[in-house]
């Protein structure tokens, strides 16, 4: 049951979340620029965050919001490390196209 303060049903939040997640997945899969891929990953994380928050309100529990803080923290750390890696890759290889980074090919 939607909570009395809410004007929209829960399903709306979850649909938006699912759409955002799908956009993120497609972005990771089709784009070759690692910066875009990063943004897509952020999109996926935030899609999940959205559903966490919505469900948290719906279930009247603070647990979901706790997770959101965790996810935000981890996402920030991940971006720091990821960008540093991208910078160092660019310095050594003069390109950041992910299709060129295939030295692990078997």
């Amino acid at each position: 049951m939607p909570s009395p303060t809410s004007l929209m049903p829960l399903s709306a939040y979850l649909i938006v979340s699912a759409v955002l997640f799908t956009i993120g997945v497609v972005g990771v899969l089709v784009r070759r620029n690692p910066l875009i891929i990063f943004m897509s990953i952020e999109l996926m994380l935030n899609a999940v965050n959205l559903s966490f928050v919505a469900l948290s309100t719906f279930l009247d529990s603070a647990d979901g919001q706790m997770f959101v803080f965790l996810v935000l923290t981890v996402a920030a750390a991940e971006v720091v490390v990821g960008l540093a890696i991208i910078v160092s890759i660019f310095r050594t290889r003069r390109t950041i196209d992910v299709d060129d980074m295939n030295v692990l090919r078997g």
Binding site: V25, V28, L29, V30, I37, V98, D99, M101, N102, V103, L104, R105, G106
Partner: protein, 665 residues
């Protein structure tokens, strides 16, 4: 009684370790200090021990010192213990004493060799191994010493490892010795299985007259004798000894006189309580000894290489020792071992001096007339030659006389025709010995010099490969360029020369009217049994004179014949007589053996390498490897290296998991 055998063993081992680790860095003087010091101290302690033994009553002359407990399991225990009794005492004196003289001599002989330190390392190791062999108080540590002696001989025979022939000789010696080791091991298994202990006292103490002649004891004794035959170069395992001449000459002296070949004679004497109980084994020992004695003597007559003549004479003399032990005259065998150690060491060192003076030449055809140039060598060599020929009163006479007399005594007591034949073989061999030894002596020292740069040049053409590989051959010197060896080599010669002259007086002098004087047989009697003394003292003097007289006459004939043929200088005449050729080529034993035994085994080995190892074992493991390579070649295609592929795979996996849970519910 004092037992300092530990120190007799300890010093050569210490010398071996020091030289082995640091020898490369030490100066020559340092190497000699360590090597001579180790061997000299060892001899010193052997003498101290012997003096202490003499001060003990005859019935208490045995000491068994436990160094440490090795194994203790259930009711079986085995100690590393050193036995000291008259037999060990005599052996230790010979090993360390003659070994020490050879060490001194080697300093001169090996002076220019780049492997100087290596040589003395091995020499000390050899002394250690041999002293361990004779001091062990049980069969197991006897086996340890036995094996180490084989290893030491392998290292020394192959000392000049740049020469293919030396490596082959070393390998041959090792393989044949391992056959002997195998016999010894089987004997030890049988002994342990039956007696439950391995110590000499434990085994000999359990013997009783009901076992006499049993198949078990006969088997044990025959297996022991297999080991002895391999170590002491008896038929049919003698082939390694002539080839062992590839080692440096002092090594030959050490192997032939003080160590190694004496081990077999020692073991039979040590295990005499077993052999007393196994008459068949005793007959075998005597028969093999007799056959070997005459067989080797015949070969020796036709050899041209002076060291080979001596090698075959060693085999022949060892045959005498086993002949003595075959008629239970164990003391006589050990007596001949001692005198033989003196004169054979001297003969080899003398031959070494000649070879040294002639820049590596060993062929008798290129010698002659050296008497004037090398008087000390010549005189000492003459003493040794007279001794080995059994001429009264030199050392070899007394010991050989004791052996032949005891064989004849056994023949008359038992009335067995075979013993008369054995005695006849022994006497005949004495004549042959005198002949070939004087042939050698006249060949080296009499007549005119046949060598020189000219002969050397021809020689080099003949077998050029040998010369190049040897590396130390120079051109043969002119006659006036030959010089007597330096003091470091001649002093051991003189000491051994004196011993070759007087060494026989430690035996029984009953022959010349002094029946009370028999120090060595009396000394050994507690170990080897009374019969050995009685065999010498008790048979009527007439019998002994018959034996002695005949062997002396034959020896004299041999010498005269040698004088007639070679007194004016050795002259080699090609002889096409097939019998001559047969003997000249050592009865083709080596060739036959190569054809019958070595080649089939080698062929089998090659076939096994190719089919068993190549086509079966290797192919199997290669097949497994190929399979995995094929599988992985397929699988590695999945690893494209593209991030998106991995991401897609993760997505697909996640979707599948979600579907799984959705469907399951």
């Amino acid at each position: 009684m004092l037992n300092v055998s530990f120190w007799v063993l300890f010093f050569p081992l210490l010398g071996f370790i020091i030289l082995g680790l640091l020898g490369r860095l030490l100066p020559r003087g340092g190497i000699l200090t360590v090597a001579w010091g180790a061997c000299g101290l060892s001899f010193l302690f052997a003498v101290i021990n012997f003096i202490s033994l003499l001060g003990t009553p005859a019935n208490a002359r045995v000491a068994d010192t436990v160094i440490y407990h090795w194994v203790s399991s259930g009711n079986f225990s085995l100690d590393f213990a050193l036995l000291y009794d008259p037999l060990t005492a005599v052996m230790l004196l010979v090993i360390t004493g003659v070994g020490f003289l050879i060490h001194i001599y080697s300093a001169g002989y090996m002076a220019d060799d780049p492997g100087f330190w290596r040589f003395f390392t091995y020499m000390n190791f050899f002394i250690f191994a041999m002293t361990l062999l004779v001091t062990a108080d049980n069969f197991l540590f006897l086996l340890v010493g036995w094996g180490l002696v084989g290893l030491a001989s392998f290292l020394l025979i192959g000392f000049w490892y740049q020469r293919p022939s030396a490596v082959a000789a070393a390998r041959k010696a090792f393989v044949i010795n391992v056959i002997g080791d195998f016999g010894l091991m089987l004997a030890i298994f049988l002994i342990f299985n039956h007696f439950g202990t391995l110590s000499y006292q434990g085994v000999f103490g359990q013997l009783n007259s009901s076992m006499a002649g049993s198949g078990l004891l006969t088997a044990i004794c025959l297996l022991l004798f297999v080991a002895c035959a391999a170590k002491s170069a008896q038929l049919p395992l003698y082939m390694w000894l002539p080839d062992a001449m590839e080692g440096p000459t002092p090594v030959s002296a050490l192997i032939h006189a003080a160590t190694m070949v004496t081990a077999g004679v020692y073991l039979v004497a040590r295990a005499n309580p077993l052999f007393y109980m196994a008459p068949i084994a005793l007959y075998t020992v005597g028969a093999i000894g007799g056959i070997t004695a005459i067989f080797a003597a015949v070969i020796a007559i036709f050899q041209l290489d002076i060291k080979r003549v001596l090698a075959y004479s060693t085999i022949s003399q060892l045959g005498y020792m086993f002949m003595a032990e075959g008629v239970t005259n164990f003391a006589g065998g050990i007596f001949h071992l001692v005198t033989h150690a003196f004169f054979k060491a001297l003969l080899f060192l003398g031959a070494g001096a000649v070879i040294h003076a002639l820049a590596g030449e060993q062929d008798m055809r290129k010698m002659g007339g050296l008497w004037q140039r090398m008087p000390i060598t010549a005189w000492t060599f003459l003493a040794a030659t007279l001794a080995i020929s059994g001429i009264i009163p030199f050392a070899g006479f007394w010991s050989k006389d004791s052996i032949l007399a005891s064989v004849l005594a056994q023949a008359t007591i038992s009335g067995n025709a075979w013993f008369y034949i054995l005695w006849a073989v022994g006497v005949l061999t004495a004549g042959l010995t005198a002949f070939y030894m004087f042939r050698l002596f006249f060949g080296i020292f009499f007549g005119s010099y046949r060598g020189g740069p000219q002969a050397s040049a021809e020689h080099e053409e003949e077998d050029e490969e040998d010369e190049v590989a040897a590396g130390h051959h120079e051109r043969m010197p002119r006659y006036n360029q030959i010089f007597e060896v330096p003091a470091v080599m001649s002093v051991p010669l003189i000491i051994l020369g004196v011993l070759s002259v007087i060494g026989g007086f430690i035996g029984s002098l009953a022959l010349i009217g002094l029946p009370q004087w028999h120090p060595l047989p009396a000394l050994l009697a507690p170990v080897v049994g009374q019969s050995s003394v009685s065999a010498i003292v008790e048979p009527s003097l007439g019998l002994e004179w018959i034996s002695t007289g005949i062997s002396l006459v034959l020896a004299a004939i041999g010498i005269l014949l040698a004088w007639r043929m070679y007194g004016k200088g050795f002259e080699y005449k090609e002889n096409r007589n097939p019998l001559y050729q047969f003997a000249f080529h050592k009865f083709y034993v080596d060739e036959a053996l190569t054809a019958v035994l070595v080649n089939p085994i080698m062929a089998f080995g090659r076939a096994a390498t190719r089919f068993l190892e190549g086509d079966t074992l290797d192919a199997g493991s290669r097949g497994i490897a190929t399979t995995f390579r094929g599988v992985s070649a397929g699988l590695r295609r999945l690893q494209t290296g593209y991030v998106r592929n991995y991401a897609l795979a993760i997505l697909v996996g996640a979707v599948l998991i979600v579907i799984y849970y959705a469907v399951r519910r």
